[in-house]
């Protein structure tokens, strides 16, 4: 690539402002989470952490309205299961669409792309009725099973497999006597690893973050996901905001952790156009 314009001090100043606005609400969330409740009423607002984090966490986990610990465990179970499943099935189907010849391939791929455009709202009511019939209401399968495959995952893996695995390599493996399953396991899967990582990260974050569907189907307050615990906290009539903010901070922490560890890959994924909202 040819040389870029050099950044002027003004550019840096503008970037500092933009980055500050981006980070401040998160930072402030952690500040309030570590202070006592009167931090909320203080003006100007405090911007440095206090020493109350431990006490706030203890109060949060003791709060019998929020079931916060259950929420955390449930969210971990749901997000992990969904992530493993989406990556597994997407890499299988993506490989089939990119590298195997079969009747109806293009039509089926079109169907998959079309599924990406349908809003979730359209399915909420019948899914709810279906869950009632399956007697999955208020239970984790209701949020896990419908999310086990995604059109986005299949499409993303297909795009990646198309360029990451050469036809000659697959041909060579066939000549050596590999069946399709072994080709997938020994040739395709290793080549798909970077895309699988990005897909896994995104799926984990989306699932952890999901609110709409769990809110519809998990009505038992004693069996929430962590986002539903947050809702219970914020709708509470007591205004113990430092406790609420401790909750929001803990619910955000796994996402931030993933981002700090894998931010480079996530940014790469977005900039390569692999990432949908």
């Amino acid at each position: 690539m040819s040389r870029l314009w050099r950044a002027s001090p003004l550019t840096y100043l503008a970037l500092v402002v933009a980055a500050g606005l981006s980070v401040f609400p998160i930072w402030w969330m952690f500040v309030v989470a570590s202070r006592s409740s009167d931090a909320m009423g203080q003006l100007p607002p405090p911007v440095t952490p206090g020493g109350n984090l431990g006490a706030n966490i203890a109060r949060l986990f003791d709060n019998t309205d929020a079931y916060f610990l259950t929420g955390l465990i449930n969210s971990a179970i749901v997000a992990t299961t969904v992530t493993v499943s989406v990556v597994f099935f997407s890499s299988l189907a993506g490989f089939a669409f990119a590298k195997l010849r079969f009747r109806g391939r293009n039509a089926m791929l079109l169907v998959i792309i079309a599924t990406m455009m349908v809003p979730t709202q359209l399915g909420v009511i019948p899914l709810y009725l279906l869950m009632t019939r399956l007697q999955w209401n208020d239970r984790l399968p209701a949020v896990i099973v419908p999310a086990l495959v995604t059109g986005f995952g299949v499409f993303m893996m297909r795009q990646y497999a198309g360029q990451a695995v050469s036809d000659e390599l697959i041909e060579a493996a066939r000549i050596d006597g590999c069946g399709t399953a072994r080709i997938w396991w020994h040739v395709v899967l290793p080549a798909l690893r970077p895309a699988a990582a990005v897909l896994g990260l995104l799926t984990f974050m989306t699932t952890w973050n999901d609110f709409l569907w769990p809110y519809a189907v998990l009505n038992d307050p004693a069996n929430p996901t962590v986002q539903l615990s947050l809702r219970a906290l914020s709708d509470g009539y007591y205004q113990d905001m430092s406790q609420v903010f401790t909750g929001t901070a803990i619910a955000t922490l796994p996402l931030l952790l993933v981002f700090v560890l894998f931010g480079r890959q996530i940014i790469g994924g977005i900039m390569e156009g692999a990432v949908k909202a």
């Binding site: 359209l122 399915g123 066939r174």
Partner: protein, 326 residues
């Protein structure tokens, strides 16, 4: 039969060893096996609900009712005469417009900043993207406090510069602004990165040519960068449309207390999705009516997305034609 099948050339010319028939079966069957999980699950949890929503919307379908009489289009006609529905529609479109336009403009500007020779490139990119990887529910609660009436930070800042406090949750337009701020905070950096990727693909000599023609930086940005980014801008606008019209978590959690699903006591910021929830689940449990809302929402998304494409195509096209005529 078998002989005939064998006589046909194999679809994939796979050289066969000892187990020829088995491997042919493998190459023919495997693809379907691999895509089957998607289609099976999608049939049950994707297609079926889609069609079923429409079916339900044609019935008087109460959760507790024993039977669900067929009522035809009645839910739809009732909906079109429902003032609360139109109120929610205006809220949704209002929030969508005042969030999307500044969001895309800010993202363009931010991408332009990031498209320079910067120190700590990845650091800046991560900083502007970090809002996107937070928990939406958590952020909505935090912004609910920042926009609080009495002790909210925004009103405090307004007071510092001598302005009156604003009732961010009780004034309809103000609540739209607050929710838009939340949405923009989350998505501007994400859009900036997508636009940045497209910007980096623009050949440098176009700018050199423009500079020789006497175009300054600003002129170059509007006459070279923006027209060439048009497809990406359309993509961002459509993604923002789909997301913006489905808004739920932010306005739902922005309001807490009594009956927050209505988006404030006077439905100040109730979006269509919230209205669907209010009708389909607590307190009304009217699935037929809720399903009708869902279908109209879907239609709205399709219409707005189409308008988006037409509008943006027209805009960019004019600019380019003008540039060519010059």
């Amino acid at each position: 039969m078998t002989v005939q099948l064998d006589a046909r050339p194999p679809v994939v010319p796979a050289p066969q060893r000892s187990s020829g028939r088995l491997s042919r079966l493998d190459t023919q069957l495997s693809p379907y096996l691999y895509i089957a999980p998607f289609f099976l699950l999608f049939a049950v949890f994707g297609v079926y609900p889609l069609a079923y929503t429409f079916w339900v919307s044609l019935h008087d379908w109460d959760l507790l009712g024993a039977d669900h009489p067929f009522v035809g289009a009645e839910n739809y006609t009732r909906l079109l005469a429902d003032a609360d529905f139109w109120h929610a529609l205006v809220n949704t479109l209002g929030i969508f417009v005042i969030s999307t336009v500044p969001q895309l403009l800010a993202a363009l500007w931010m991408a332009n900043l990031l498209n320079r020779g910067l120190r700590a490139r990845t650091g800046w990119r991560m900083a502007v993207l970090v809002p996107n990887v937070t928990s939406t529910a958590a952020v909505a609660i935090v912004f609910g406090v920042i926009f609080g009436r009495e002790f909210g930070m925004i009103n405090w800042l307004l007071d510092l510069v001598g302005l009156d406090a604003i009732g961010w949750k009780s004034n309809r337009f103000a609540s739209w602004v607050a929710i838009s701020a939340m949405v923009d905070w989350r998505w501007t950096g994400y859009n900036a990165l997508i636009l940045l990727a497209a910007m980096q693909a623009i050949p440098r000599d176009l700018y050199e040519a423009a500079a020789i023609d006497g175009a300054n930086r600003v002129r170059q940005f509007w006459s070279v960068t923006v027209p060439l980014l048009k497809p990406t801008i359309i993509f961002c606008a459509i993604i923002a449309t789909i997301g913006g019209l489905q808004l739920f978590t932010e306005p739902r959690l922005f309001h807490s207390g009594t009956n927050p699903i209505r988006g404030g006591p006077m439905r100040e910021s109730q979006t269509l999705t919230m209205y669907m929830f209010e009708n389909a689940f607590a307190p009304h449990y009217n699935f037929g009516y809720g399903s009708a809302v869902a279908w109209l929402l879907f239609a709205l998304i399709a219409i707005v997305a189409a308008v988006n494409v037409l509008l943006l195509r027209r805009l960019g096209g004019d600019r380019r034609q003008k540039g060519a005529a010059r």
